[in-house]
Symmetry: C2
Subunit: 292 residues, 2 copies
């Protein structure tokens, strides 16, 4: 029998994920020039690019989109819990695309003036983790090196064995963060809307004993456009929670302390940077009523 | 233009995920009495239950399945990157189900004779992590306490604020492991087949500014049966990699060292227990040819 207890339980578990903050949330608009609209047969996805961290990869990705390089290509390598990878197949070889080989842009040096919001120190894969501009970071505080980290929903360029061998095929992470790929792959954006549609892409890897997946059933990347090239009426205009705001820092702290009664026993006061949600909302949303 | 380089890159990245082992893999059959077949509108899913770790939750889950408690219920709380939760709604209140409140079964004490395969020490949320019977574990080596950990694809009972308040509503984790829930929720099984169909369940949580999801569009749990109650011809018979085998330990070691040329720069020699794949195969598969 369902009782009020169940309903309380659901509410409590919900709070456990989306803790309330004392400070009003701060938001920033996503620039149409740095947003990409991907149309899949089953839904729309928006990616925010990060020219600050991977300028050459972002520039080439934008150029390839404009050239039609990805138009009608397939997600041909989709492994549950790992990645969904796409790019033109061999039969597109005849078409000429300008996709020169890219040099790795996977880490950078920072100095004391460089600001980010710290999440955890130490972490399993980094001495420090944090956020900047909505992106999860790993940092080495001995060498003052930082990098974007492979949380679910990042987009990065695939490559060969050599560091500087990526050109256009990309993957999006769809499972537990494969952080062993940090610093050796170039992440250049992340999914900020429609991640559930990326998760619903047809898997192409088969398990032993299972019938192989027919390539005709692979999920097609029906359309891909820079948001700035989409007619204004058809754009998805988004805002991202400001991860350098006081309200976000408060949220991290509340998440770490887990003061809600649901936590009858407190978990360790640590945070996995890839398990901290960064909120997205449709732009021009009325601000939510603040708690009195 | 696509070159052979891209193809090599894909192969390399694939190896990075599924490293080859020198020892032949060892497998164990999944017992039909401990397997559950879930039929969703878009695919079939198999869960393996763990009576060794959560005997009372497993017994009650089996009994509720047999009573028809879950039949035709909805996944009514599905949050991308977090959980897909299901159970009967209020309008089923009239029907009488025997779903008594369950006491927490989330951790246990172990002694020196207790065997498991170690993965990592220390870990962000535990002093030691490991595997036993295909399940990921967290361990505290000071108190000799162990627990099942919230990796993607585990099934656990939802509850209210009180520890001992779960009865029948369950959730399956669908994103980065929410390990802050370890030890305070009872995990009683994990998805071993069809996780991509769990990932494709309709999300019910909406973002600010987005139209609310109509409950009529929630994904229905069309059917759920113990595998032992499924006619033999319609069963999905599976085998699971033996996580206590020498070959699995070898695989962990290779994964930690990342010797493949793809890793032109080595990642830290650490493993996230939730990012180590445990293989499933269809039973009665011919053994794969061993490398010479």
């Amino acid at each position: 029998m369902i009782t009020i207890k169940n309903l309380i339980g659901l509410g409590a578990l919900f709070l456990a994920f989306c803790s309330l903050s004392v400070h009003a949330e701060k938001w920033r608009p996503v620039e149409a020039e740095n947003a990409v609209l991907i149309t899949l047969p089953h839904g729309k996805v928006v990616i925010e690019l990060t020219p600050d961290f991977a300028p050459k990869h972002v520039a080439q990705f934008k150029q390839l989109i404009k050239q039609g390089y990805y138009q009608g290509t397939n997600f041909y390598r989709v492994i549950d819990g790992f990645v969904a990878q796409a790019g033109p197949s061999e039969d597109k070889k005849g078409k000429q695309f300008s996709a020169p080989v890219l040099a790795m842009e996977s880490e950078w040096q920072f100095d004391k003036s460089w600001r980010f919001t710290q999440v955890q120190s130490p972490d399993l894969f980094a001495s420090v983790t944090g956020f900047k501009g909505g992106f999860a970071l790993g940092l080495d505080d001995k060498t003052n090196t930082a990098w974007l980290t492979h949380c679910p929903g990042v987009i990065a360029m695939a490559r060969g064995n050599e560091a500087d061998s990526a050109d256009g095929h990309f993957y999006i992470t769809i499972g537990q963060a494969p952080r062993y790929l940090d610093r050796i792959m170039t992440i250049f954006g992340r999914v900020i809307y429609g991640m559930e549609h990326i998760q619903a892409i047809r898997r192409t890897a088969v398990i032993e004993g299972q019938q192989a997946v027919d390539p005709a059933q692979f999920t097609e990347l029906s359309n891909i456009q820079l948001m700035s090239d989409v007619p204004p009426a058809k754009r998805i205009n988004l805002e991202i929670e400001d991860t350098e705001s006081e309200s976000f820092a408060d949220k991290l702290n509340e998440r770490r302390l887990r003061k809600h009664a649901f936590f009858y026993k407190k978990p360790p006061p640590v945070l996995d940077v890839c398990q901290v949600p960064v909120a997205t909302r449709i732009a021009n949303t009325k601000p939510a009523q603040q708690p009195k």
